[in-house]
Amino acid sequence: MLINILETAFDLIITLNDDLFEIINLSLKVTLSALIIAVSISIPFGAFLALYKNKYQSLIVLISNTLMGMPPVVLGLLIYTLVSKKGIFGFLDILYTPTAMILAQTLLIIPIVISLTYEEVYKKNKDYNLLLNSLNLNNFSKLKTLIYECRYALVTVALTGFGRASAEVGAVMIVGGNINHYTRVMTTAIAFETSKGSIELAVALGLILILISFIITLLIKSLRKIS
């Protein structure tokens, strides 16, 4: 029984089954878009927080750390209330679209990247601030140097965000709606196909997800080695 399922699942993957391909393609598009948006906001912001001491800094870091642990499904619910017909952003009309899913994953990744970037840059700044001050650098130059010095660690941070977002199911289910050929991604498809009893496609997708997670782990490991 299990062997048969696995066999069919491998078959689906190897023959690049259309449905499977479409779902993987959308998943990667959504998560990569979210990652790019989140990273380009959060890395500079996290680094900024690490460099500029003021009374709001520790509060923002605390909030970010808290949001990092927020259940994605709650985030999905929140976005749902905002973008549904009656919500204040209802006029955008993005509920049940890939845009809403990108939004959800972006918001999911942002606190992760802010908090982890903050930690990395804070540590590096401790090592380097005497040198950077001695060179009389302005704050913008310091920020650029520190981000560059943390480059390997920050790629790891981004990969962590990617892993978290691609594995998440609750938020994209609520705001995307798991519409076939439109908003169905790997995780929502697994949940749906399983409940429908067509377990082979679910297993195939599950294998792909595990593969992605494996690749991310490998990348992070080799980055740790060179940094």
Partner: protein, 232 residues
């Protein structure tokens, strides 16, 4: 632009209730090499960092370099730290980084520094792999980029082999000859004799001696200093 005399008036530095520098008063008019000596923990590194504006004290206005406050001439200063701080790049890239930050556009400038410091062999190695002495060499190279007027050297030769120590001392003499004001800490008595012109001796956050190196070794000194000299 005259950065001397250096005048420090009633400078105190307190961290967590601990008085690290106590009522420092000096006037320094010597334009050769000033040695800052004293036992471990006496406050030498802290003092240099304060003179360089890296540590803000309760009142930094108590320090004047000629007519200038530290903030006016910080860009004319550089420092080699007791534990050299290098970026996670090759030695060449570290030097290039400093040159860029000092807006130096001259081609081959970094190559000249590498030649001067005789570090061609490690120039393309990431500094995380190089030895302690080699790190000091790179840091010294970084400190002379852009012809600063004041250089702070915090035990810059503590890890160098004798021949290389001699090379660095020659570089220091050359800098000093070219009117660069050098402040240098050292525990090496013979080195102090070789290149020092005046000496500031610190004990427990206070300056207990400040005069020419010549006098320092000729005069009868208190027990603490004569012990320091005898063991050195």
């Amino acid at each position: 632009m005259n950065i001397l005399p250096l005048k420090v008036k009633n400078l105190n530095y307190v961290v967590n209730g601990k008085n690290i520098l106590k009522n420092i008063n000096i006037e320094c008019n010597n334009n050769n090499v000033t040695i800052v000596a004293g036992n471990n923990g006496s406050g030498k590194s802290t003092f240099l960092k304060i003179l360089h504006g890296l540590i803000k004290t309760q009142n930094n206005n108590k320090i004047k370099w000629g007519e200038f406050y530290i903030s006016d001439i910080k860009r004319e200063q550089s420092m080699v730290f007791q534990t050299p701080i290098l970026l996670n790049r090759t030695a060449y890239e570290n030097l290039l980084y400093v040159a860029k930050k000092k807006n130096i556009t001259e081609k081959n400038y970094v190559d000249k520094i590498i030649d001067k410091l005789n570090i061609k062999n490690i120039s393309n190695v990431n500094t995380k792999y190089i030895s302690g002495g080699e790190r000091q060499k790179v840091a010294i190279g970084m400190s002379i980029i852009g012809n600063p007027k004041i250089i702070f050297l915090d035990e810059p030769t503590s890890q160098l082999d004798p021949a290389y120590k001699n090379d660095i001392e020659n570089i220091i003499n050359e800098l000093s000859y070219n009117k660069v004001k050098i402040f240098m800490t050292s525990h090496d008595i013979s080195q102090i004799k070789r290149i020092g012109s005046e000496i500031i001796f610190m004990d427990n956050g206070e300056i207990i001696y400040h005069d020419s190196v010549k006098k320092f070794f000729e005069e009868k000194q208190c027990n603490l200093i004569s012990e320091y000299i005898n063991y050195g």
